[in-house]
């Protein structure tokens, strides 16, 4: 660039402006405004600054803390189930799909991705109907394999409802890890695989010793996607179990708790400031997760890339 004294390049601004304005006005400003709202409380219709008082209330006040810790714990379990079931199965399916000269691979891939495109409303209701003791599809199916006595109204029992919902979520989103890992497996250079075969490393041991270390960056990505998605979840539980996240709040996670707090439900009045407080806690959790991923995991994985 020889000419340093260029005229002002208005077009750069024109190109950037629409995206930056919409993004800033609708996303960034409200995000920070929400963080700010969490520091206030409305007394006699006037907003009063309470510092971290709302957080103290959320973590310690018996009216709030019970529900909060319950939602946080449930959310954590929801994430653990998703992480432990969805991602290994997704990786396994991707490994099978990418194996050499497998016929109908495209058909399998398309079919397994179908649940991911369905809306939560459909997914929640479909499973509610299938698992309903009234209809009897699930009991009949279990009966046909001689396990009728296994059946229980899983979504209605506080001990099993959360895990059942988490498994429904796994069913819905398994397509995402499958696709991303599949893409990563396809991008492994042919020479690497050939070199492994020359050394007699094939089949399962090839997967564990050659391919898996190479796709670790993608596993990192699906993990952080699962994390952000799970700690931001709401729809599936709202659809299948209602805003009260029944039975007896056993499926309540941070998203449903935020919704109830913000809007109020039945006898409870809506409270925007406490809603903002919960949103801020969710923001902090997601931020910590993203930072751990960016600085702790992704950086260390980089040396495996070609």
């Amino acid at each position: 660039m020889a000419q340093d004294r260029k005229p002002v390049r208005w077009h750069v601004g024109v190109f950037l402006a629409p995206a930056v304005i919409v993004y800033t006005a609708i996303m960034i400003v409200p995000l920070f405004a929400t963080l700010d709202l969490s520091l206030y409380e409305v007394r006699d219709k006037v907003a009063a600054f309470v510092g971290l008082g709302n957080f103290a209330k959320l973590f310690g006040d018996p009216n709030w803390s019970g529900q909060f810790w319950n939602a946080l714990w449930n959310n954590t379990w929801f994430f653990v189930v998703n992480m432990a079931v969805q991602n290994p199965i997704g990786i396994g399916l991707a490994a099978l799909l990418s194996s050499n000269r497998l016929r109908f691979a495209a058909a399998y891939r398309t079919a397994i991705f179908v649940p991911t495109i369905l809306s939560f409303v459909i997914v929640g209701f479909v499973w509610k109907l299938i698992l309903s003791p009234l209809w009897g599809i699930a009991p009949d199916l279990l009966k046909s394999v001689g396990l009728r006595h296994w059946f229980a109204p899983w979504l209605g029992d506080p001990h099993t409802a959360l895990t059942t919902i988490a498994l429904i979520s796994v069913w819905q989103f398994i397509g995402i890890p499958m696709m991303l890992i599949y893409a990563a497996l396809l991008s492994i250079p042919e020479e690497v695989i050939e070199a492994a075969e020359m050394d007699g490393i094939t089949g399962m041991s090839q997967f564990w010793r050659i391919k898996l270390p190479l796709i670790l960056p993608s596993i990192g990505i699906i993990s952080i996607l699962t994390f952000v998605g799970n700690f931001n979840a709401f729809d599936l539980i709202y659809v299948a179990q209602g805003a009260l996240a029944g039975p007896d709040f056993s499926t309540d996670i941070l998203g449903t708790f935020l919704y109830r707090t913000f809007f109020g439900f039945q006898l409870q009045l809506g409270d925007p400031n406490m809603g903002a407080t919960i949103a801020t806690v969710m923001f902090a959790i997601i931020l910590v997760g993203v930072c751990v991923y960016l600085f702790g995991i992704q950086r260390r994985l980089r040396r495996y890339q070609f």
Partner: protein
């Protein structure tokens, strides 16, 4: 040698068996809903797994849905929101991506990072203030409020993917345009945009699914009957008709089929988008 061939044969067979079982698990729930939506109430309960036949075929569920629900309106609302948001996301996203990938200016990297922030941080967390903003602007219960939110939500990923692709557009082409006296705007619209069309299609498919399926923002920003999207409309309808199994199954089928058809049309684009490493 023959032993080896046999084990690889067996391995392929095992792979097919596992994939086939999982395909059944993925599709079975959808299949059950669709076949039962076309059966009489008695048959739904007596033989839930049998196909609709001469004795059991009944479209009473669909009749109820079409009489009681406002589904054509909901579909129209969803369509408007999705299409207009996508147009904004693609246009604004491509413009910003072009600015970031084409010009060197102070704060370029910082601007890129600023826009990328939204890929990881969900816009939902700002809901409390977004609702305040929309109330203040008088936009609650309008489709425009949803369009604004989805545009803001979609821009980060669009900028990220499109600027990667725009870096690959040859400089010679753009410089030839400049020598011919084309303005920067003409270069963008007539030279660069047509070349990144495949990437635009990928972004469109990726952005479309969450917009069409979203329940949170319609529920909070636009719950009125006249602006309900199909996702919210179906949710409300299902809540009211929860004991009318024919109607529930029929409305679920009506909600599944358009998405499924769209998916089958675009699935190659979607899968190519993911596997070409557009999302990394």
């Amino acid at each position: 040698m023959s032993k080896r061939a046999r084990t690889s044969h067996g391995r392929a067979l095992a792979a097919h068996a596992i994939l086939l079982i999982y395909t059944v698990i993925a599709l079975f729930p959808v299949f059950v809903i669709v076949i039962n939506s076309m059966k009489s109430r008695r048959e739904i309960f007596r033989h839930p797994l049998s196909l609709p036949g001469p004795g059991s075929f009944d479209l009473v569920g669909f009749q109820t849905v079409l009489q009681q629900g406002n589904f054509p309106l909901y579909f129209w609302n969803s369509l408007v929101v999705t299409v207009v948001s996508l147009a904004f996301i693609l246009l604004f996203g491509a413009m910003a991506a072009f600015a970031l990938s084409e010009y060197r200016f102070r704060g370029n990297t910082l601007m890129g990072l600023y826009l990328a922030l939204g890929i990881m941080i969900p816009i939902r967390l700002g809901t409390v203030a977004i609702l305040k903003l929309m109330v203040a602007a008088g936009l609650t219960n309008t489709l425009f409020a949803l369009i604004l939110v989805y545009t803001a939500q979609g821009i980060p990923l669009a900028v990220f993917i499109l600027s990667e692709f725009m870096k690959t557009v040859s400089d010679d082409l753009k410089n030839a345009g400049r020598i011919d006296g084309l303005s920067e705007y003409r270069i963008f619209f007539t030279l660069v945009l047509p070349l990144v069309r495949p990437a635009m299609a990928t972004v469109a498919v990726f952005s479309m699914i969450p917009i069409w399926n979203d329940l949170w923002f319609p529920l909070i920003l636009a719950p009125a009957e006249s602006v309900k999207t199909v996702t919210l409309g179906a949710q409300m309808f299902l809540g009211q008709f929860v004991t009318n199994w024919n109607a529930v199954l029929a409305s679920l089928t009506l909600a599944i089929v358009p998405v499924l058809v769209l998916y089958l049309v675009f699935s190659r684009q979607l899968i190519r988008g993911i596997t070409s490493g557009a999302v990394k």
